[in-house]
Symmetry: C2
Subunit: 412 residues, 2 copies
């Protein structure tokens, strides 16, 4: 309070006597402190990093520098996708503290999905966000020098990358203290993942791609808990995992979390079929997230592809233009395969790793929860090991639909 | 002279009165000044960067920072491949000046190859150099954090990368002022490359891989002009193009330059067949460079694969060990395809781009030179566009052998 009272812009925005400001701790993320401050004139959100993981405590240290990278990423995203991230009001590097626009009456999208809410503006907003932030930080838009500068600027955020490398790409596939799952129902499935050597090859390839394919500046944690929504607005928050990585990791995160919302939905229905319209909307949204992302990304490439990759001077004339267009389709097909694989990885970690999500966790009956989870895992396993059999996004949603009422055999 | 007289170690090594030191300018590279200094006690090589390209002049500026990156790379290579790079004696960052061991009686390998000299120790030395420098700077040996630090440390060397991006991956395939070739004989071939749209797709894919696949710390310019040899010693010099890039670029550079030595050989013979033994040795060397590189790289991976990629904890037990071994073969097969593609790119640039090499240039009869060059280009075109048809290194050398006496139709 005292600190922000001394920041003129913030004090003016909140208004009135600082002593009258109302402060609430609202952080429900795993890593940081988040406060809402309200004064007579308005409100702000204040996010401050701690030198350890909030969820776990001081035994798990985590560098404060993540606040720097989050600020850097948020600034870049605000330039590239204006209106789709919260406005930045103030940043103090030494305090690892950032003050942002208060998002009201937005809620975390994941909560809305659990409640069965449809978001008609979501596809348009999230695909604009992804297409623009990924395209404009890629070799298709940047010079190689600008790209290398960007990579170097985020290279220091490796502690956050390491969390992903461990919790998503390694631990769920081996015995690890922090793993948990819906026991005893999924005990056998958990054991089978630890013995599934083809799955281990697939996750290791994805891990290497995550570590060594700096295609674009990623959000790095783009699940539905990092997205705040109203019926008609979308804001992407919390890019502290930002780094230069493979684009499919961000796109796959969105798709994985929609698919999990779909499979969790059966666990939330009180009467059979009552959420059918919502579920149909979710799968339609999965399809449109991919197709609209592709459309927007390709439009940007065609109009603003002035980066050092695929120089237009090598694709002159009608034949060259046509051949480059065909190559763009090949590029997107490769990106689709990455997206399918990363979506699978993001799903499995939410069911067998450390960090779970409320889509499944709020299903009170553990057996029902396990059934929903087992369906999601069955699809994810196929997506990761037989990635090539998913040629289009309709192959993914079609497979999900077939598993909607599949009854796994569960112990317990 | 005055400067080095003030560096005690160097003054002691050279010995005697600094006024008596003999200084010769020997730089025959394109970018820098290189002096040999000899005193009563011994000699040193002194390399100093200029703020422009030596070959072209002040109209082509180039940052002095390349001396920093060269020093950094040389230090790392000296740790990883001791005895295979010149010993570092002194470095002055501000002067962009490095003093190194004087390599005597070593000569530039390319000169020896033009003369038809065989180097029995070359395969062993160069494959040790490549296997160790590439493996130990890769995700297979490093933590992701160490790897990102390495990438960031070399990210600033983008001006040198840009030279490669332009001169190797772009200009030879379009009209560019700096291009040159053996006219008029290769005029039609040069024009056909500019119209060869499949080749343009292939070179663009390689360019993107060069820019955005930081697999390991590359030498970055590993042709036979960057290698000094005696009959039994090999020293790799001049790593000023060093950066984190795709391993196949270094391996492909060695193979491309051996293949060019092979095709140039016919142009240097005074009597038919007089260089047959040399030519057989060159192709055998191409095969062994690949097979020994693979053997050493895989041995390192098996013994010291403690990096964050492919964690052994996911490949436990006999089945896991066997599956990881199979995956290693897949990894090397992918690296082979990269190597074939990059070797092709390195060949074409030497025949149609700015920087040519003496293998071809010293063939005095331009028509004979053009014949040798056309054979090399025919192989390179196939290697770049039909990369997948080259499954083993014997496919490459077999194709080269078939082209040894192929008679292209040349204008003029």
């Amino acid at each position: 309070r005292d600190y922000l009272a001394g920041v003129p812009d913030i004090a003016a925005l909140l208004g009135g006597d600082p002593a009258s400001w109302e402060i609430t701790e609202v952080g429900d993320g795993n890593l940081n402190l988040v406060f809402i401050m309200k004064g007579a004139g308005g409100g702000v959100a204040v996010k401050q990093a701690l030198p350890y993981v909030r969820l776990v405590g001081e035994s798990w240290p985590l560098p404060l520098s993540r606040a720097h990278y989050e600020y850097l990423a948020l600034s870049r995203q605000a330039q590239l996708a204006p209106g789709l991230v919260p406005a930045l009001l103030h940043h103090n590097e030494a305090l690892a503290l950032t003050v942002m626009e208060l998002l009201e009456p937005h809620i975390i999208m994941r909560k809305g999905l659990v409640a069965g809410t449809q978001y008609p503006g979501f596809v348009s907003d999230i695909t604009t966000f992804m297409a623009r932030t990924l395209f404009f930080t890629s070799d298709l838009a940047l010079s190689a020098a600008e790209k290398k500068e960007g990579i170097a600027a985020f290279a220091g955020n490796h502690a956050l990358c390491k969390i992903t490398e461990d919790l998503i790409f390694t631990d769920p596939y081996r015995i690890a203290e922090q793993n948990r799952w819906t026991a005893p129902y999924l005990d056998a499935l958990a054991a089978s993942l630890r013995d599934d050597i083809e799955l281990h090859v697939a996750i290791s390839r994805l891990k290497l791609k995550f570590m060594a394919s700096p295609e674009a500046l990623l959000h790095g944690d783009l699940h539905t808990g990092s997205i705040m929504v109203t019926d008609h607005q979308t804001r992407v928050i919390d890019p502290e995992f930002a780094f230069y990585g493979p684009m499919g990791f961000d796109v796959g995160a969105v798709i994985a979390n929609l698919l999990m919302a779909y499979f969790a939905s059966a666990g939330h229905e009180r009467a059979a079929g009552e959420r059918a319209a919502f579920e149909a909307w979710v799968l339609e949204t999965v399809e449109k997230v991919w197709s609209e992302f592709v459309r927007k990304f390709l439009d940007l490439w065609r109009a603003e592809g002035t980066g050092d990759a695929y120089p237009v001077s090598l694709f002159a004339g009608a034949q060259g233009v046509a051949r480059l267009e065909a190559e763009r389709q090949v590029y997107m097909q490769r990106l689709f395969a990455d997206t399918v694989g990363f979506a699978a990885a993001k799903t499995i970690r939410r069911i067998f790793g450390l960090a779970h999500n409320i889509d499944f966790e709020l299903i009170e009956d553990p057996k029902k929860r396990a059934v929903s989870e087992a369906r999601a895992v069955r699809l994810a396993r196929a997506m990761m090991v037989e990635t090539g059999t998913f040629r289009t996004i309709a192959d993914v949603t079609g497979a999900a639909r077939k598993l909607r009422d599949w009854q796994p055999e569960l112990a317990g």
